[in-house]
């Protein structure tokens, strides 16, 4: 409990934890929170973020949005989308809308809010799709990938690093050389090359898992290396010698006695490794080498800015990038806060 009190004194880490919990809740309930079907196209391309109004002629009427009218500019003949103050659409809460599956299981069409008019909190993209809904949908991949990859790398890293440390000898030598090879190629070029292995026509969900697998192939090395070092240090301690004397197998010692003692270290290391995976996935998807449509991720959404030659006219397509930065920032703050907590040398 003293640890908890100490942690909550670290404001930044505490706020980050709360923000992350919120982000993951939003991810879990993304279908419920998306006002529009994220893949549905509309007539309104590159609509700026919608202004929600509450007062009409000085009177409180609740939230509503104005309609959009398309017309030709009489001088340039360019098609323009202008706000039409004649058309007013109220914003309703808990409305029935497009069909989705909550948590991927329960079919539903209930949404937190929605409107018959053009309600786009983050604007729309080139095909008139609602960027807010797409950003929420992208969170499933962008935030989910960190957890999935950690779920891959942790057992592998702990087991291989642990075995390397506890078995020693030839096993240790071979594992260490393998690690050195994997660590001797810079991550990003290797990631790009590995992404070539994913066939272009894989089903979307498989491509998500394949990208996660690619990240995991490179992700377990650092963990394995440090776990080995910790195992070598802990192996000398009396309680390990004692359980060895009772006749416990080496695998049992690793799993029952050594790993629990590394728990705080492992939690810190997991927290600090997730932002790397989030950034790597967004980089891959940004370059078109990661997630494929109809799935989307924040990196893939940002790639629209790469192809767009008129970024200056619609900067709101950069909003998903802000989401990446927010998530990564929070993970870094939280990880550093947890590390300070776990490190007994910093008891100042």
């Amino acid at each position: 409990m003293r640890g908890l009190a100490r942690f909550s004194r670290n404001r930044l880490a505490l706020v980050s934890l709360i923000v992350l919990i919120l982000l993951y809740l939003i991810m879990a309930f993304s279908g419920f929170l998306e006002p529009e079907n994220p893949t549905a196209q509309s007539r309104y391309s590159y609509l700026p973020p919608t202004a929600v109004h509450f007062f009409y002629q000085g009177r409180w009427v609740g939230p509503y949005v104005f309609g959009i009218q398309r017309r030709r500019n009489p001088v340039t003949f360019a098609e323009e989308q202008v706000v039409d103050p004649q058309l007013r659409y109220p914003v309703y809460f808990l409305v029935r809308g497009w069909h989705y599956r909550l948590f991927g299981i329960f079919p539903s069409d209930l949404h937190l809010f929605g409107s018959a008019g053009p309600l786009h909190p983050f604007g729309t993209d080139a095909l008139g799709r609602d960027l807010f809904s797409r950003t929420l949908q992208g969170s499933e991949v962008s935030l989910g990938i960190g957890l999935v990859v950690v779920a891959f790398t942790f057992p592998v890293g702990i087991l291989i690093g642990g075995l390397s440390g506890i078995l020693g000898g030839v096993t240790d030598f071979l594992i260490q050389r393998l690690l050195e090879i994997l660590l001797s190629v810079p991550t990003l070029p290797l990631l790009l090359a590995l992404s070539m292995l994913v066939p272009a026509n894989t089903p979307p969900v498989d491509s998500f898992l394949e990208i996660a697998a690619i990240l995991a192939v490179l992700g377990w090395t650092g963990l394995a290396r440090v776990v080995r070092g910790q195992v070598l240090a802990l192996r000398q301690l009396d309680y390990v010698a004692a359980s060895q004397a009772i006749g416990a197998s080496r695998l049992r010692i690793l799993i029952r006695h050594i790993t629990p003692n590394l728990a705080s270290y492992l939690i810190v290391s997991a927290t600090l490794s997730i932002p790397g995976y989030i950034l790597a996935e967004s980089a891959l998807s940004f370059l078109g080498l990661g997630i494929h449509p109809p799935l989307t991720s924040w990196g893939l959404l940002l790639s629209a800015a790469l192809n767009s030659n008129s970024l200056a006219a619609h900067p709101w397509i950069l909003i998903p990038g802000g989401c990446i930065a927010l998530a990564v920032l929070c993970f870094n703050f939280l990880g550093d806060g947890l590390r300070d907590l776990a490190d007994p040398h910093r008891l100042s």
Binding site: P189, M196, L197, L302, L306, L311, L318, I324
Partner: protein, 322 residues
């Protein structure tokens, strides 16, 4: 020292051989190849396709292809780019120059900001400036480099600047060297340098700050103060001089990451570096280019480690290589 350097250089060889096998293996496992796109092309007959395969040596057994490639590298022949229809060697030269030029500028920018910032915040810990700098350092680390590049493009476009993307404006391409040309070059390069350099500042600043704080509490710093040295001398000659040591090895280690980090920024800003080159090669499955680039990036990493070790040995007399 010389023996150590030699031993280190020799130990790079087996690693590079294994990395070459790894690169080759990845490329071999890739579904489809450069020639796959011709399969659906009615203008390319199966016979032409077969002739192309023979010409590129793709009909040989896999291990012969590997040994041919490896043997070629030893003789300075890095294989043949299917996409550009020329030997890879003839493509890399200019890109290599720009990669080094831009990366080294970005590294210089990172260190010129990070070291003074780290020293200042280390000397004035827990002040408002320290907190703000710390937060900005975290932020710079969290924003993906390509987002920084996109934001810079956005602001440049807002100001109406035409110097977006590439390294020279159209009127200067092929023009003789002049001050206006250099100015135009810099106008194109600073967004790249900022985007590549910013993410690294956060980590380096924190390392410098933490090192300096550690060193400042060492007894020899206390001694230096006790014997009446000027504060400036204590800080710069005793504290900073020692706090910078681990920094040297970090700098050497981070160089290869700057090279690969410039990859995406170069693609966004359309710079003629190795990054977009590798990217195009991957999109088009230009096998030899991909393999060569992986090997090359790995070689850079090894080289960075080597330089870090050697520099550290020169700077820190306590490290011996007996």
């Amino acid at each position: 020292m010389f023996a150590f350097a030699l031993r280190r250089i020799l130990s790079m060889i087996p690693v590079l051989v294994v990395v070459s096998a790894l690169s080759f293996g990845i490329v071999q496992l890739t579904p489809g190849g450069f020639l796959t796109q011709y399969l659906a092309n009615p203008r390319v007959s199966p016979r032409t396709l077969h002739l192309l395969e023979v010409q590129y040596g793709l009909t040989k057994p896999v291990w012969v292809q590997y040994l041919d490639w490896l043997g070629g590298i030893l003789r300075g022949n890095f294989g043949y780019s299917f996409l550009y229809q020329v030997p890879v060697v003839s493509l890399i030269g200019q890109q290599l120059f720009w990669t080094f030029f831009i990366t080294l500028l970005a590294a210089a920018f990172t260190w010129l900001v990070a070291i003074p910032l780290g020293v200042y915040t280390g000397l004035h810990p827990n002040t408002p400036f320290d907190y703000v700098a710390n937060f900005l350092a975290y932020l710079a680390q969290a924003v993906p480099d390509f987002l920084i590049a996109l934001l810079l493009i956005y602001f440049l476009l807002l100001t109406g600047s035409g110097d977006v993307g590439g390294i020279l404006s159209a009127q200067y391409i092929g023009a003789p060297l002049s001050w206006a040309l250099v100015g135009n070059l810099l106008a194109h390069l600073w967004p790249a340098i900022l985007a590549i350099g910013l993410p690294g500042i956060g980590g380096l600043t924190r390392v410098m700050r933490a090192n300096l704080l550690d060193v400042l509490s060492e007894p020899y710093v206390q001694t230096a103060r006790a014997k009446g040295l000027a504060n400036r001398r204590v800080v710069w000659k005793h504290a900073v001089r020692n706090a910078v040591n681990p920094f040297v090895s970090i700098a050497g280690l981070s160089l290869p990451y700057l090279f690969s980090g410039s990859l995406i920024v170069s693609i966004v800003l359309n710079l003629p570096t190795l990054g977009p080159f590798l990217y195009q090669a991957i999109l088009n499955k230009d096998l030899y280019v991909v393999m060569d680039m992986l090997l090359f990036y790995s070689f850079l990493l090894q080289l960075g480690n080597l330089i870090a070790d050697l520099l550290l040995a020169r700077l820190d007399p306590r490290i011996s290589f007996a």
